[in-house]
């Protein structure tokens, strides 16, 4: 990319502008949901099931109701009167708000206590007595599919098994043919375990129904406020909530990562409680509720096969997957894609044939299937192809870097149509890998590894050359509950040349207030400091689908640029009027129009803004504002190459990441400082599931990993000292050439780490280890292979 086009004072693209949101956060003056306190506010707390599957025989609320300050105990029966005990999921399945017959997972909501304080509400929860009759528990999704397995969704008439859906993509016959003709094949079972986003702020809301005005306001931890408003209107229309009387406010959000996309029962109960009482009702979950009941990510049981020629040319990929969705498919995927964008699984490689199937399954676990800081199911795809590519390279005795370079889609092949139907916009995969290799000193590391191996030391080098797919998405294919996945921006330029811009997305730490202002600064030459960016209030912001799947820059950022360009078009007319020149005779540079050949005759954008309200041309409407609803023509395909060096302690099995070089290419960059910060964070959320995080269940469906005691988030001590670099391959179809970056590193990092560990142990006969690669797993493997300290 060239240097910035604007001055540092204007602060357009390419400037590391200090963040506009930080002055409030560093003073403790942010406003997160739980910071809001309204007069007369009541508190909601939730009774949860100790069983993973059980009939509810009786709920005795009398002791709870006897506690002074407990106002009500809400059960499924209460909600059933209003037909609010079930709600639709984003994937057009159904899930319970509160149960009337049975519970389907441990920690499921059973009843809700409404009280005058947090403490009394918690006392009330303790005092509610529920009698359960345990039912057989289905934990393993493969067993769930076996004939004779207990059918979980007995609420669905005629449902005779636990299979939710079957989805497949690609050319099965061509793939089978390629496998028959293959010179080498490899096959591996890969499990990507259940994990949780664990944003440091949990989920919660304050619902306030104003009975006089008939208006419901909900301050809530949501990444998609507009879509939530529509969902509320659709779900609760029959009890009198209409969309113009619903206002969703998403205030400061303490991290989202996909976990704040779904509608959780707690939100709905709080709304119902406020509508019934007319009082504001606060519900904020604690960390254990967050980990145990909110939407999980991953849980894909994958069987992958790869075919190649002996020279290392990959020819076909075949993947079969069982997707454990818990008791409801409450994933947050575009409607047409129940397995998200998993069919990006051919990755950075030029495959001629591929076929992928995914089967969704019900089990006695919390519902979900959200992203954990990645575009829909892309980490699952990247992990599979990058593990398989490494396996094949090792199998045929080729260096994994050379193997990748041999198979990369070449720069001249873009736009590239993949075997699974995606049209990749741009890429230079070898460029990124070469830079990563050079930066880490790849050849020297391989020499060091060979020497160490002779001495019996365990060192591994792992590569991941991933391709992301973000910016959903073109309306032709992408919608959520029918809502097309455009996004929006509305800009108003005030008479004095300052501006306010509102977007349909919602930052959860990504820095939109800064980067969106920079986009508009780039397009209009108005200093970023003079542009106020707002999001998250459905009463003021234009409708948009929200922030997840790295779609803010690709979609809403583009809307910002397009709205600014509409303003520039009108500004040109006004400037022509002021300068008494023809529009075609004006030259634009960021911030001013001048007359061709007479650079001293010019009008600044601020001059034009003033004139738009004080001296606009006859026949033109006054004002200077525009709205854009941007429907992206394609997705964007950020990419990168990561190289990881690990040392393994033979005594403890601990994997130590010695170095990690990340080369990312997210197209043109708006704010280099913020982009680097996003990559650091993404890498850490790739490292976490690779080595630490997992939510598992015992055979009775008891959760293991349900608090921070045993769900291990990385601290500053374990987290590697990330080394980052970049290449720049602009997106040809995005107005700014940008691609999105928030999730690339989460997607790409786990495979680099897993590949490094297997690389360190390959000579011992180790072919694959499922993440998280814990010391216990490695220790056991080492002992099995006869390695001792």
């Amino acid at each position: 990319m060239m240097g910035p086009k604007t001055s540092p004072e204007v602060g357009g693209m390419g400037h590391s502008v200090k963040r506009k949101e930080d002055p409030r956060f560093i003073r403790g003056k942010g406003t997160y949901v739980d910071d809001i306190q309204l007069p007369g506010m009541l508190y909601l707390d939730i009774v949860r099931s100790p069983f993973a599957h059980a009939k509810i025989k009786k709920i005795d609320t009398s002791k709870a109701l006897a506690i002074p300050g407990v106002l009500a105990v809400i059960t499924g029966q209460d909600l059933a009167k209003y037909n609010l005990h079930w709600m639709p999921t984003l994937m057009s399945d159904t899930q319970m708000v509160l149960p009337v017959e049975k519970v389907m997972y441990q920690a499921q909501e059973v009843a809700a206590v409404l009280a005058t304080s947090r403490y009394i509400a918690a006392d009330g929860v303790e005092a509610v007595e529920v009698e359960y009759e345990p039912l057989p528990v289905v934990v393993d999704p493969k067993k769930a599919l076996e004939p004779g397995a207990p059918v979980l969704r007995t609420d669905k008439k005629d449902k005779k098994d636990n299979h939710i859906w079957h989805w497949e993509w690609g050319d099965a016959a061509a793939t089978d043919r390629a496998f028959r003709e293959a010179e080498v094949t490899v096959k591996e079972d890969i499990y990507l375990p259940r994990i949780h986003v664990a944003s440091i702020e949990t989920c919660g809301c304050i619902a306030h129904f104003d009975k006089v005005m008939g208006k419901l306001t909900v301050w809530m931890t949501t990444q998609a406020p507009h879509a939530i408003r529509t969902v509320f209107a659709l779900v609760a229309g029959h009890v009198g909530l209409a969309e113009h009387k619903i206002r969703i406010v998403s205030p400061d959000i303490g991290g989202g990562f996909g976990g704040k996309v779904p509608v959780y029962p707690g939100y709905v109960i709080a709304v119902a409680a406020s509508v019934l009482t007319g009082a504001p009702v606060k519900w904020v979950e604690d960390r254990m509720e967050n980990l145990q009941a909110d939407s999980f990510a991953r849980d894909y049981h994958i069987t992958a096969e790869l075919a190649a020629k002996k020279d290392g040319t990959m020819t076909a990929l075949r993947i079969k997957t069982i997707a454990d969705h818990g008791y409801a498919d409450a994933a947050a995927n575009p409607s047409k894609f129940p397995a998200g964008l998993f069919h990006i699984c051919t990755g950075s490689y030029d495959f001629k044939a591929a076929h992928v199937t995914v089967d969704g399954v019900y089990t006695n676990k919390p519902p979900g299937g959200i992203a954990y800081r990645c575009s829909f199911r892309v980490t699952e795809a990247v992990h599979t192809i990058e593990r398989m590519a490494d396996l094949m390279a090792h199998q045929i005795g080729m260096d994994p870097a050379e193997f990748r370079k041999k198979n990369f889609i070449k720069p001249e092949q873009f736009p590239y149509k993949s075997a699974l139907g995606w049209e990749y916009d741009s890429g230079n995969y070898a460029g990124a890998l070469n830079l990563a290799m050079q930066k880490i000193g790849y050849a020297e590391l391989r020499r060091e590894q060979a020497e160490k191996r002779k001495r019996g030391e365990l060192m591994g080098i792992g590569i991941s050359s991933f391709t992301e797919i973000v910016g959903a998405g073109p309306s032709k294919h992408f919608d959520i509950l029918g809502l097309k996945m455009f996004d929006s921006c509305e800009i108003r330029i005030h008479p004095t040349g300052k501006a306010i811009a509102r977007f349909g997305t919602k930052s959860q730490g990504q820095g939109h207030e800064t980067t969106y202002a920079q986009i508009i600064a780039e397009e209009l030459g108005i200093p970023a400091a003079d542009i106020q960016v707002e999001e998250g209030d459905t009463d003021t912001a234009p409708y948009g689908l929200g922030t997840y799947a790295s779609r803010s820059t690709p979609v809403a950022g583009a809307a910002g640029a397009m709205a600014a360009r509409k303003i520039r078009d009108k500004a040109r007319k006004i400037a022509a009027h002021l300068l008494e020149a023809a529009e075609d005779d004006l030259v634009w540079e960021p911030g001013k129009f001048s007359v061709k050949g007479a650079p001293n005759r010019f009008k600044t954008i601020q001059d034009v803004a003033f004139a738009a309200y004080t001296n606009h041309p006859q026949g033109m409407e006054a004002g200077l504002e525009a709205v854009s609803y941007y429907d992206p023509p394609n997705l964007t395909y950020p990419f990168g190459s990561y190289i990881c060096v690990v040392d393994i302690d033979k005594g403890t099995g601990e994997v130590k990441v010695r170095r990690f070089v990340a080369v990312d290419d997210c197209g043109n960059i708006i704010n280099p400082m913020i982009v680097e910060g996003q990559i650091h964070g993404g890498l850490t959320m790739g490292f976490a599931p690779a080595l630490l995080e997992e939510i598992s269940y015992d055979e009775n469906g008891n959760i293991r990993g349900g608090s921070f005691m045993d769900y291990l988030l990385p601290t500053a001590v374990e987290t590697p000292k990330w080394e980052t670099d970049k290449t720049t391959t602009p997106s040809p179809h995005h107005p700014l050439g940008a691609k999105g970056v928030g999730e690339s590193a989460t997607v790409g990092a786990p495979a680099a780490i897993a590949n490094a560990v297997v690389d360190a142990l390959w000579h011992l006969g180790v072919r694959h280890i499922d993440i998280p690669i814990t010391p216990a797993k490695v220790w056991k493997l080492l002992r099995e292979k006869g390695v001792t300290e």
Partner: protein, 157 residues
């Protein structure tokens, strides 16, 4: 029970139950909402405040335990309209993203730099290991604290 505290230099008191947590006293009663709650098990550190100068996780301290003591929260860092060096460092070095862990990080850093004016990177990483951040990957938090340390050594705030 009556609890009297000095918080950010100001004397405040409140009537609380014995079981009432310090973090709820600070947030819900004294209405200083910069101190956050991120877990129930004293792991995340979002609730870190200084109690008589020592960093504590206010979600596992009872309000009554703070009786007669000095509390400092994130709102007490800025003096006379001038940001403290740790605040300046986090802003300058992009040491925060969502901002939720930030107040706890700032208080831990503040107390750490008082004890350790010339820290190494490893010392910084260990010092903040009781504060979880999900956004930044810690790289820039380390840089922010290094920035603050240098600034404080130069005699800044």
């Amino acid at each position: 029970m009556l609890v009297q505290v000095t918080i950010n230099g100001e004397k405040r008191e409140a009537e609380v139950e014995p079981r009432f947590l310090l973090v709820h006293l600070i947030r819900d009663v004294l209405r200083l909402t910069g101190t956050h709650i991120g877990c129930d098990t004293t792991h995340c550190g979002a609730c870190t405040v200084l109690l008589d100068g020592r960093p504590v996780k206010s979600c596992t301290v009872l309000a009554v335990q703070a009786h007669g003591k000095e509390i400092m929260t994130v709102e007490g860092l800025e003096q006379d309209g001038k940001l403290h060096a740790v605040q300046e460092g986090f802003w300058q070095e992009h040491g925060l993203q969502c901002g939720f862990c930030t107040p706890g990080m700032l208080m831990t850093s503040y107390a750490f730099l008082k004890k350790t004016p010339k820290p190494t990177e490893d010392e910084i990483r260990w010092a903040i290991s009781g504060n979880l951040c999900r956004c930044t990957g810690y790289v820039n938090i380390v840089k922010s604290i290094e920035y603050a340390a240098a600034k404080l050594r130069e005699g800044g705030a």
